[in-house]
Amino acid sequence: MTATMERIEHPAPASHVATAALARAEARRMWRSSYYWIGLVLSMALFLVWSWTRMPTWATFHENIGMASLVLAAALLLAAHLAAGRDHRAGSEESLRVTPADPGRRSLALLVTVPIGAVTGVVLYVAGLLLLLPTWPVGQFSPWAALVVVVLPAIGAAIGAAVGRVLPGAAVGPLAVVALIAVLFVLLFWGQGSYQAQGPLFPVSFVTWDLGMAYPFGWHLLYLLGVLALTVAAVCRPATPKTSAMVGVVAVLVAGLSSWREAAITPDVIDTTVSLRAVAPDKLDCRTRAGVRYCALPGYGRWIEYWQEAVRPVATLLPETAERPSIHQIGNMSDGKPLTPGHPEVIIGETWGRVGRWAEDSQERMIRDYVATSVGFLRGDDPDSWNGCDGAGQHRTVVAMWMLGQAAPGKDLSVPRVRYGQAETEAAEMLLAKPREEVERYLSEHWAEVLDPSATGLAGLGVTIKPPPIPVRPQDPADSQSVDLDRGVCP
């Protein structure tokens, strides 16, 4: 062995310089922590599982990424707890106690895990957006909801550091995670029964809010920042006891008041007038493409291209003179009024499949609804059109089946909410066996006749089924009686 004989005295660094160096060392350890990377990968994987199939909206994106960030927060809690408990592990207590870095400085240095958590939250958020490309969330973006994803991992890290300074045992970290999961379950079910799907103290907001409603994301973020400040104060307690105590008290007040405020502005019931005002026709994003009018909710305009793609094969089958139903997107609340009185329209909700089976199902449902509406089955001005009816014998049923066979080849020919029999199926198959141009030409020439439920408009093409007597539709929807799920013969 060799030993340096001459000693060289080095001046002691300033306290903040030494603390910063220790913080950098903790950051390097965190960077190498398997908990950190497993947490990040697991949270991304869970986010993908939850988000992969549906087109993202900002609401669902923030729900899913928020829940995923809880997983990341748990992993950071474990990593930070291990870092904080390092002083007491493997019998190192005595060795480390005699270094110039006292417990206060080591606690302050551990705070570096908090910005690391926040930055990792940003990484998770951005990665979530990138992983969903080329689709991009639609709807109403809330920066406060986005920041929740940044704050939650930071809270996890701060809790880990705070617990680790007090209870450094290796088993305490996992136990703390289990305890917090139990607390989250309690918080999750606390708010059941109110309009908000979870209690205001639950870290992630599940947005079942309607457009136009007050979004308390700002208050929720403030509540989480209060929790973060409280845990940071707990970490800093050995270094700055008085300041930490004051910050802790203020943090509790901020968190308490914010959550109280959030709960106060969260309605127990939906104010329908406010909600409907936000989705009134003049607020919608309406565009006309190839003669079809598409009206999306505010912020949902990007989905019009998906709807257009689904509608196009049906719309091209319709004669020039045919009325082309509009596409009308509605929110959770709808007054059932069509965009233009008397004009048929297809109603669509706030979900759309993104890939695979979900995308195919969305597209297929749109095709079927558009076909059924085009031939007059699902009329927007008919309040009972959501119930099933019997379309047997009606020639428009056969037309609808033929259109489905053309627009969605290989799929079954069922028309939504319309019953029919073997005769209609055979008639449709007979039409499908004919050249498409021949049927199109015929329909173009006899469209009004074909749509008449009591007429035999397809007789010229060899369809021989006979329509039953058609009931008279009430003139005023208010006069309609309570309707059974099955309305009998389609009016």
Binding site: M1, T2, A3, T4, M5, E6, R7, I8, H10, A12, P13, V17, A18, A20, A21, L22, R24, A25, R29, R86, R89, A90, G91, S92, E93, E94, S95, L96, R97, V98, T99, P100, A101, D102, R106
Partner: protein
Amino acid sequence: MTTVTVRGLSKHYGSRTALHSVDLTINGGVTGLLGPNGAGKSTLLRCLATALAPDGGSIRVSGFDPSVPAQRTEARRRIGYLPQNPGLYPNFTAYDLLDYVAVLKEITATRRRRAEVRRVLDEVELTDRAKTKVRKLSGGMRQRLGLAQALLGDPALVILDEPTVGLDPEQRMLFRALISRLGEHRTVLLSTHQTEDVGALCERVVVMSGGRVIFEGSPRELAGVADGQVWLAEDPPKGNSAYWRNADGLYRTIGQRPSGAEATRPSIEDGYLMLLGTAAVAEVIR
């Protein structure tokens, strides 16, 4: 050279007194602390290393009083400490562990820290194990790594609590060489059960028993305690409770001369044993 001054130091663990008003002054070089188990050696070293607060008395390390928080930090900046259990994180590599401890010892500049870690790794001959995880190091290597962390920052006072325990003879030789060279320009205080270590390393010896310092002096003076009381005999001596055979097959004993025995030159161990025997007798008389 760093001076360590201890005055009236006492420490109690419940009703048991570990240190009885210890007075000690250490001025440079290597000082060995000898004593049986429970003599108070480790307690004294822990107090000097600022790992343990004494119940009474005072300590000064280069003039700094560890009982005053600000001065304690200054004292710690001058101390390198290897406890009996150095506490090495099994999942750290040797390099990472030393790098972390270097940061705790306020070696903040990255370049200087890297150089310092390499220096101490080189000193304890673990450079080729820098990237090896601690759990994969042998017991001797871990002990050397513990010494390396104590040497980080080139402390003026190096406190080593039984550093040669569990080492094989070859590694002990390496340790001795290193420690003796460290002592040329630093103050080194080491506790040990090995009187050979004291003879090989120390310019000064402190013997403790029952929490008291019962001897201070040079190794030669310690051996001199048994002068004229060490005997070699061909047969097992009768009446002497402690005797042992040496490499020549002769029986060595201390105390009263057995019949037929011849006087021989005392060793440090003889002096140490003689001293402890006297102290034990004194305890009984008291």
